[in-house]
Amino acid sequence: MADQKVISRQTGVEDSQYKWGFEFDIESDVAPKGLSEDIVRFISAKKKEPEWLLEWRLKAFQHWTNQGDEAAPKWAQVKFEEIDFQDIIYYAAPKSSDDAPKSLDEVDPELLEAFDKLGIPLEEQKKLSGVAVDAVLDSVSVATTYQDMLEKAGVIFCPISEAVQKYPELVQKYLGSVVPYSDNFYATLNSAVFSDGSFCYVPPGVRCPIELMTYFRINEADSGQFERTLIVADEGSYVSYLEGCTAPMRKSHQLHAAVVELVALKDAEIKYSTLQNWYPGDKNGEGGVFNFVTKRGAARGENSKISWTQVETGSAITWKYPSVILQGDNSVGEFYSVALVNNYQQADTGTKMIHVGKNTKSTIIAKGISAGKAENTYRGQVSILPGADNARNFTQCDSLLIGDECGAHTVPYIEVRNPTAQMGHEATTSKVNDDQLFYLQQRGIDLEESNYMIINGFCRGIFKELPFEFAMEASQLLRVSLEGTVG
């Protein structure tokens, strides 16, 4: 772990505060900069992909080229210089991954050390209390732990590139079925150049014995990360999936355009938790990751449930709307989010709940915290379609402002086309209450700690949705991100 300087209240946040900002010295295989049909073919060939997948990629690439850069979404409340898509490396992989390791023993020790440094032990003896981890460095998955135990339960959890080889029929059936390649500008780009990511399939009636986790890391300079995650929970199954991410500190911006697809069949439940901690840029707004992510779940079967929980503290720009399409009757969608922005960070994040089936229910709880000169926007859509009789939605968005140079915005879209619907949205925006601060300080707690306590309390409802270790980490992350914002 890098040294952490003492944060001075006067000078504000030190750069060293982002303690995941180091880079590893790992040799890697990189594709030349730029995007072309050749690059798409190159990636596909590297992965030894079947013909159908290459064709799918090429279709996406064609679509992306045809629509041009103007198709990039402009409606979000974020400002950034136009991205030069020809100045990005679309494929970077640690050298040693050419021959994929069969077990952890074969994994490059340097790599293991690297992930250790990040606090993600891959070696199974250093158990992370029973979480199976798939570690993705730059564009490829480097190691997946706990394979035996998962195999016994019949759960498939492996890099998506491996799944393409081993379980092509499953991948072909579900890939792009929730987020089609033509979905949006960044999802199309991802479909053309996605490198790796996790694949998970839980067979009927199986309750996944441990929590699954993917850890993403951008290391290579100027590279983009385009991973693709696909999780399928078959009838009556349950899986809890965690996702974490970091990147080194760099002067230039890095693009992260991922796609996550979830499919829950009848009576199945998927719980998806994210701790997003990409490098947010320095205190002058230089560098940082552009996090443009498409996440969507289809609650396809009756009584299925998909729950998104996210804690967003990193990234220079976050553009992310984890959604649920509630197709099955009685299906349930949930979205719990804490988005914290500081310095020059910008976040435009929220969700979409599309009610299609009868008696579907959704809950949205979003907490936004803005500090420094940052901009935080909640943007969420709730659609109740004509067939969704007795649909219910409850939305609550609260924003906290710390300092008078930041912004907090709430933009809900409510579309109701069924008279039996009951939908309610409420939102508030305020600052940390002076009386509460006074109360705590009066009892001898200093200002910074008081602030942290109040803000931690503000986010508590979301943190309790996270698995225990993650909740601790989220709480820590909140503390680090908030340091220097008061005083």
Partner: protein
Amino acid sequence: MQDTSTIGDKYEEDYELLSADLPDWTSDFRNEAMLAFKQIGLPIHRKGNEKWKYTNARPIAEPQYSLAKFEEIGLDTIKNVAPWNDSWVNVVFVNGLCQGIFTSDTASNIQVFNIASDELPPNIAKLVGGIVDYSDDGFAAWNSAFMSDGSVINVPDGDNSGTVINMIFFNQGLARTVNHPRVLVNSGKKSNINVIENYVGGGDNHTLTNSVSEIYVGESATVNHYRLMSETDHTYDVGYGRVKIDTDGKFNSRAFFRGCGIGRYDLNVLVDGENASCDLQGLYFTSGNQHMDNFINIDHSKPHCQSNLFYKGILDGNSRAVFGGTVLVRKEAQKTDSIQSDKNLILSPKAEVDSKPALFIYADDVKCAHGATAGNIDADTVFYMRSRGVDLETASRLIIYGFAGEVIDKVEIEELRSYLEKAFLTSLPNHRFEF
């Protein structure tokens, strides 16, 4: 994303023809507007256009309209369709052009001018178009380019008589005609005034009423503004209101929508003085194939101000209601207290509500909240009434009326309130809340 292809040569010819009869001071103003109109066009493309996300302006923009011509009509016809009191200052417009001012109140100091005339004092003339932004969409520019008639209401400082200015815009419904009503209200310091803008008439033809109102609320002044829209299912109505409130000023708006094919009310209130406040309330009832879009924005730029935004809708038939509301609190506007709310009652399985109540906040020491609801009435409410012996029809009627009444009850002018009560009661559907 706008399209200029909607502006045919016809509008250019009409523009030239109109120019001959208008005073010189308007020519620069109209020229600039015409240029903007040609440049911007009308918002017929919705992709990427958040302001028109849920309303298709194409049916409104597509016909090539002729300018509506004036035709005198009997006052009895007007009195039949609009609230009227002889002691009010009643200004009657037919097809966008003024027929006359009718009042028994001769003592009033309030001046009413024709907007496109030489009699308009220069200090007031320069307010015309002062808070209109042509770049919003082409409609305001279109109105400005064709501004040939309309009313300027000038309230002297200290005039707190509470005079009611009743402006009635009667649309005869001549096929494919457009009229461009224009209103400017300038209220002096510590004055108090009531302004009614009432859009009535219609007919079986497609017509477009494209109005622009500018309201300047002076220091410590109060303006109560009522906007009524009850045309027919064949008319299109695009209303553009811009309000600027000075220090300690109060602006109260009550907007009632009962009829027109496609309607849009774009109201933007700039709270531009310390301790100023605005209270914007609206009620819309849509049925048949109607489409109503309320686009209500509040812009807080000074500290210690309050705003309340409260809209309610009842939807029946195949109708669609859109609510787009934005409260913007700028960095300087500390201590802002703002509430925004949109509530919808959907009565028919084919009706649709699209609501987008947004908050944009840049100041930290503020209290801002918003809420939106859509859907059905609570079963307990009906049960309560039924258990007390009220039959289902009556109970349902009472509930719907009670829902609407919350906004109507706030109308302080008695004639107007009873007119609205009657108008809404007779037009509310015979719905039964069955569970």
